[in-house]
C-alpha cells in the first residue's frame, strides 16, 4: 500500500478489558478485533463511514452523550462501555423505530433468514414493536430489468449510495427528502429502469442489508447476499486514486 501509516499505539479499556489500538482505529474496529460485539447496520468494510444507523452507540467514561463507535477514534486512557441496560434499551428502540417506519414483515420477505436487520432484532431481543406503524405508502420500483427496489423495506443506511459512488463510480443512488420523507432514489428520482448512469453491476443489491434492493423474481427467503468482494475492490480503487 502506498500510504504507509506511522501510527502510534493507544491503550484504553473496553468493557473493563485492557486493549491497545492504532490511533487511526475506530472503537468499532477495535472491538471487532477483540471479539467484542457492537451492533451496526450502516457500516460495511470497504465503504466510507456515515454513522447513519446509530446502532453502534457506546458509552465513554466522563461523557454524558453516547457516541457512535464507528466514527469515534480510540484515545489514550479512554474507558468504553459497549453493553449496558441503557444501551440495550436504546438499541432496541432504534430497531423498533426502523420496524415501525417501513414494511418489515419478515415472514413474507425475500430476505427472510438472510437479513441483517432481522438478525440484529433477534440478537438484541427486539420481540415487540411498541410504536404504531407509520403506514407510509412507498412505491415499489420494478422498472429495472434485473433488480427491484422496495423502499418500504429501506432503512436508509446509504450503503447503496456509497457503494455506487465510491466503488462503481456511477453515483446512480442518492437520498432525497428529510426525516420520514427521506427516500433512496436513482438519478434525479426517475425510474431505475430508465437510469442513464446505472451500469446494472448489482453492487447495491449485494450490500443492501435488508430486502429493499434485491434481485427480481426471488421467492420468500431466497435472497442471499454476499459482500466479501468489497474490501478487495475498495483497495483497488484506493490504489487507482
Amino acid at each position: 500500500m502506498a500510504t504507509a501509516v506511522r501510527s502510534r499505539i493507544r491503550t484504553l479499556k473496553i468493557d473493563g478489558r485492557d486493549v491497545s489500538a492504532r490511533e487511526d482505529e475506530t472503537i468499532l474496529e477495535l472491538a471487532e478485533e477483540n471479539g467484542i460485539f457492537i451492533p451496526t447496520l450502516c457500516r460495511i468494510e470497504g465503504l466510507s463511514l456515515v454513522g447513519a444507523c446509530r446502532l453502534c452507540l457506546v458509552e465513554v467514561a466522563g461523557m454524558n452523550k453516547l457516541v457512535p463507535a464507528c466514527l469515534t477514534y480510540a484515545t489514550e486512557g479512554m474507558e468504553v462501555f459497549t453493553d449496558s441496560e441503557r444501551l440495550r434499551n436504546y438499541r432496541r428502540m432504534i430497531l423498533e423505530l426502523l420496524f415501525s417506519e417501513g414494511n418489515h414483515i419478515c415472514a413474507i420477505c425475500v430476505s427472510n433468514g438472510k437479513c441483517e436487520l432481522q438478525a440484529l432484532a433477534q440478537r438484541l431481543g427486539m420481540d415487540h414493536v411498541r410504536f404504531a406503524n407509520l403506514q407510509q405508502e412507498r412505491l415499489v420500483d420494478m422498472t429495472h430489468e434485473r433488480f427491484v427496489v422496495d423502499r418500504n423495506r429501506c432503512i436508509l443506511c446509504a450503503r447503496c449510495v456509497r457503494v455506487c459512488d465510491e466503488i462503481e463510480w456511477a453515483h446512480t443512488w442518492d437520498i432525497k427528502g428529510r426525516g420520514v420523507d427521506a427516500r433512496v432514489i436513482t438519478d434525479l428520482d426517475t425510474p431505475w429502469g430508465e437510469s442513464d448512469t446505472c451500469t446494472s453491476c448489482g453492487k447495491c443489491v449485494r450490500v443492501c442489508p435488508v430486502g429493499a434492493i434485491v434481485e427480481k423474481g426471488r421467492a420468500v427467503g431466497e435472497m442471499a447476499k454476499r459482500h466479501d468482494f468489497l474490501p478487495h475492490l475498495a483497495k483497488m480503487r484506493e490504489a487507482k486514486k
Binding site: 415472514a107 413474507i108 425475500v110 427472510n112 405508502e137 412505491l139 415499489v140 420500483d141 420494478m142 422498472t143 427491484v148 422496495d150 427480481k216 423474481g217 426471488r218 421467492a219 420468500v220 427467503g221 431466497e222
Partner: protein, 474 residues
Amino acid sequence: MTKQIVIDPVTRIEGHSKITIQIDENGGVTDARFHVTQYRGFEKFIEGRPFYEMPGIMGRICGICTISHMLASAKATDRIMAVRVPETGHRLRQIINLASIIQSHALSFFHLSSPDFLLGMESDPAKRSIFGLMQMYPEVARDGIRLRRFGQEIIEWMAGKRLHPTWIVPGGVASPLEPEVRDRILATIPEIYVLLQRNLDWFKRKMEDYAQEIRTFGNFPTMFMGTITPKGELDLYDGHLRIVDDRGHMVEPSFKAQRYADYIGEAVEPWTFMKFPYYKPMGYPDGIYRVGPLARLNVIDSCGTPRADQEWAEFRQLDRRVVLSSFYYHYARLIECLYAVEKIEMMLDDPDILGKMVRANAGPNSEEGVGVTEAPRGTLIHHYRVDEQGRIVWANMIVSTTHNNMAMNRAVQQVAHRYVDGNKLTEGMLNRVEAVIRTFDPCLSCSTHAQNELPIQYELVGPHGEKLDEVTRG
C-alpha cells in the same frame, strides 16, 4: 312477534361468524342464518406488491390451508409469467397438495368430527373432544393423529417445514425431490392403507346409526362443482371444472378454470362479510352449488385409482343419483384420503419424479393470471392483475368455504327446523347446529383451539326482546 337465538361468535375461517335462528311465537323456527362478521383484506393490501411475492404472502392466509393457497397463488403467477411449469415441478406440486389434503381431512374427520359420531351428538360436551376420544376409542384417536402426521411429514420432508414452507414458488418449486425423501414416504404408505381401511370400516357401520342426521344435515338439492382430469377422473390440483345438478346431469361438463368468472357470480348480503357465489346462468339464489369432497365425488366419472374407485362405487350407491346429504362429506373425506395416498404412491413410483428441472423463470408477460386448485374444502380461486412492471393492481379470491356459503346457510336452516325447539334450548340441539357446519369443515380449525365446541354464545330472546335462555360454550 318473533324471537331470535344468536350464536355469536362462531369462529370460522380466518375470522368470526355467528348464527342467528328466528323463532315464532309458538317456538317454531322460521329462519336461520350463518353470518361472517369479519373482513380480512388480503385482496386489498397486496396491491402494489411484486407478483412473485404472492405465494409467500397468500400462504399466510391460513395455517391449515397454507399449501392450497400457495398453490392457487403460484398457479396464478405462472399465468402472469406465461410459462409452463416443468413436468417434475408440476408433479411435485401435486404431491404436496395431496399431502396437505390428507392432513386437513384427518384433522376435520378425526380431531373435530369423530367425537360426534363415536361419543354421540347428545353426549357430555366436556368429554366430546379428541381427549374424550383418546379415553374411549384410543385406537381411533391414534389413527387420526397418525394420518395427520403422515400428511404433515410429507410436507416437512419435501418443503423444509410443516407450517408455512416457502418451497412453492412462481414457475414451479424451489428444489427437486431428494431420493431419500421419496423412499421415506414410500416406506410409510403400506401402514396408511391399513389405517384408512380400518377407519372406513367402522365409519360405514356407524353411518347406520345416523339415518336421521343424514336425512336432515344439509340434505337438499343443489348443484355440485369440482375439478376433473380430461378423462373425467378426480383431480385435486389441476384440470377443468365440472358442474352437475342434483340429478347428476351435466350442467357444465367441462370448462376452463381460468374462465371461472363467466360461470360464477358473487352476490352480497348486508348481514355477512362472506359473499355468496352462484352459478351465473341460473342467477342468485337459484344457482346454489356445493364444493369440497362431497361435490368432487359427485361430479367425477371415477377416481382413477383402484382402491378409491372401489369405495367410490359404494359411495355412489348411497343415493339414487348424486349424494345429496352433507353428512356424507365425512365419508367423502376418507375416500379422498385413500385416493391421495394411492396417487402419491403412483407418482413417487415414477423415476421421473427425481428430475432436476422443477422451476421456470420469467418476468411478467401477461397482465392477468387465474390460479385454480382444489383445496381440502373445495375449489380455490386466486385471480390477479398486474401493471406492466409486474406489481399487483387488483386481486380477487374465491376461497373454498365461500362457495359453500349458500349451502351452509340452508343447512343451518334445515337442522334448526328439525332440531331446535324455541321454547327450550338443549345441548344436543345446539351441537347439531354446530355439527352440520362441521360437515363442511369451513376452516373453523384455523381460528379455534376448542377441539369440539366452537366458542359460541346461544341466546334465546322472547317476543319483547327479553332473554329467555342463554348458553355460552367454548
